[in-house]
Every structure is written in C-alpha cells, then in structure tokens.
Symmetry: C2
Subunit: 161 residues, 2 copies
DNA sequence: TATTGTTATACTCTATAACTATA
DNA sequence: TATAGTTATAGAGTATAACAATA
C-alpha cells in the first residue's frame, strides 16, 4: 500500500431502517430514496478503497486529472462542481502525496496545468479497476435489464441527454 | 419567517457535464449516477427550504422527533445513521431555536426524551408540506409509471423489503 | 460492565471574500 | 475589467476517545 492504511474522517453510513420509528412520510420522498441508494453506492466505493487514504472527491480528482493531462485547476473545479479554492486544496492534496504535479502552461502564465506522476498514474489505474469491480458487484443486485432501466431513469431525472 | 433568512454553509451543487472532458469511465459507475441524481434531489430540498436556515439532517431530526415524541438522542442517532455526539449537536440546535425540548424520561435517568415545542411542530408541518411539494415537482420529470419503477429499483438496490 | 449523554478534538468538504499576478 | 490561482476564514457534517452518571 502506498498510502496510509487507515482512512480517517467522516464516512457517511447508510440510513438504517429503525423498527418502531414513524418516518412521517420521509421515506415517501424521492430525494430520500435517492440519498439512501447513494449511500449504498458509497459503501461500494469505500470497500474498493479500503486501505487507501482517499475520499470520493479526491478519487474523482485523481481520475479526471489522469484522463485529462494539462487540465487547469479551474476546469477541475468545474468538473467537480466545486469552487476554485476547493480545486486548489484537492490539487495540494495530490501534490503533497506525489500523485500529481503542477506545471506552467505555455499559453497562459496565470494557469497551472495538472499532470499525474507515475505514482499517481499507478494509483489511479489500480483504484479505477477496484472501484469498477466493487461497483459492478453492487449493481449486480439488479438484473442487467433492470440496471439499464435504472440508468435511463436516473439520467432522465437529472436531465442528461 | 421564523429562522434566519440566509442558509449558510456548503450546499453541494450538481455535477455539471463539462464538454471536452474525458470522464474515464467515471460516468459508467452506478454510484456516480446515483450521486448525480441525489444532488438533483437535494436541489429540490433546497428550493423547499429557501428562506429557512435548515439542512437535510436538521430537517430529518425535526420531522423524526415530531413523529416520535419522547425519542431518545441515541435512537435519533440510529435513525440518522450518525454517532451519539452528532445527535446531541442536532438536539442542541433544535433546542437553541426553541423547536424542541429535552425532558427526563421516567424509566431511565440517563436518557432524555425529545419533544417538539408548538413552534417546532408548526415549522415541521410547514416544511413537510413544502418539501413534499417540491419533491413531487422534481419527481414529475418522470411519468408516474417510471416513478414507480424507479422506486422499486432503488428499494431493491438498498435491500429494502 | 454496558449504556446515555456529554465534552473535546480533529478532519473533510464546501463556501465566500479579498488578494496577486496576468490577461 | 476579467480570470487563475491563492490565502484566510467560516460553517456543516461527521468521527473517535474519554468521561460522569446511571443501569
């Protein structure tokens, strides 16, 4: 393992159904059902990254920088839906661990281009494989037909093309 | 309005699709699709609670205490899937705003029972109506048939009966 | 011994505002 | 003026650990 063995910090747990509790229509809310499902998906991620000190946004940053070398921090922020300052902290985190480097871009002296180091590339590819496998195991709770339907409905819900 | 008019703190925004970016299979991950959908649902919640200083866990605490008077903090924590210390902070928050009260329970001198005040009940019922309406508007992006399918698949995914 | 609530501490995630250097 | 990055600050959410009172 390259990173610390213990993931610290908040790990949102799934929402257990407590017997005898009146949920007062809370479980009739679509947003609540989505939240529960998302937490179940998070657990798959957590299993995939056990033993590696990483979190979902950090994983996303790692993968996105890996697939888009030379990306600027602003663009990374746009992809993550986060403010520039957050993209900077993520970049710091990657750089401190030797996973990525900032390099000056030719066209614009204000911006940095982000690039994974060999170590970052190795971690990215290892984790991508693991996350994919765990996610597939999670998705296997549905038939492939159901899964296709679910993906279509989720896309429609968020207005994806 | 009874609460502060401005909700502060982090409001997770939705994940925009940035053109020209290689997502490297990230969007093939079910957990990622669920996350995007959940954020869209969160926006519905945010619209419903505009002008009221409340967050999803605080809203959940308000509703759950309202529907289960005499609930202990430990049970509230179990419902929310959070540690006791978190349930305590939520209870403090409710109490500071005059929305709930702690009262000693007869059976166990260690535990507090939680009860909404009239003000808490009023806020709870107003917000429940608004959240339900906004959630319904959000859900209307799907046909009622699709919605039924989605709910069934989400329940199956989290292993709900 | 175990549980309830509490306090203390820490870390992640996110945001806004003000600043600098550059465009 | 506008943008990229940075710094400072703040609040929300979550966790663990240790403690007192009670079971």
């Amino acid at each position: 393992m390259k990173q610390r063995t213990k993931a610290r910090g908040p790990r949102p747990s799934s929402i257990a159904r407590v017997p005898g509790i009146d949920y007062a229509g809370l479980d009739g809310i679509l947003g609540y059902a989505l939240r529960r499902a998302q937490l179940a998906g998070f657990e798959a991620f957590h299993g995939a990254t056990a033993g590696v000190d990483i979190t979902p946004p950090r994983y996303t940053a790692l993968v996105i920088v890996g697939a888009n070398p030379g990306l600027t921090q602003s663009t990374l922020g746009a992809v993550l839906g986060t403010a520039r300052s957050g993209a900077m902290l993520l970049t710091d985190w990657l750089e401190e661990r030797g996973l990525a480097r900032r390099r000056r871009l030719a066209g614009d002296a204000r911006a940095w281009g982000l690039y994974l180091t060999p170590r970052g590339k190795a971690l990215s590819s290892r984790l991508r494989r693991r996350v994919k496998a765990y996610d597939a195991a999670f998705a296997r709770r549905l038939s492939s037909r159901e899964l296709g339907t679910l993906r279509r409905l989720l896309d429609k819900l968020v207005g994806a093309p």
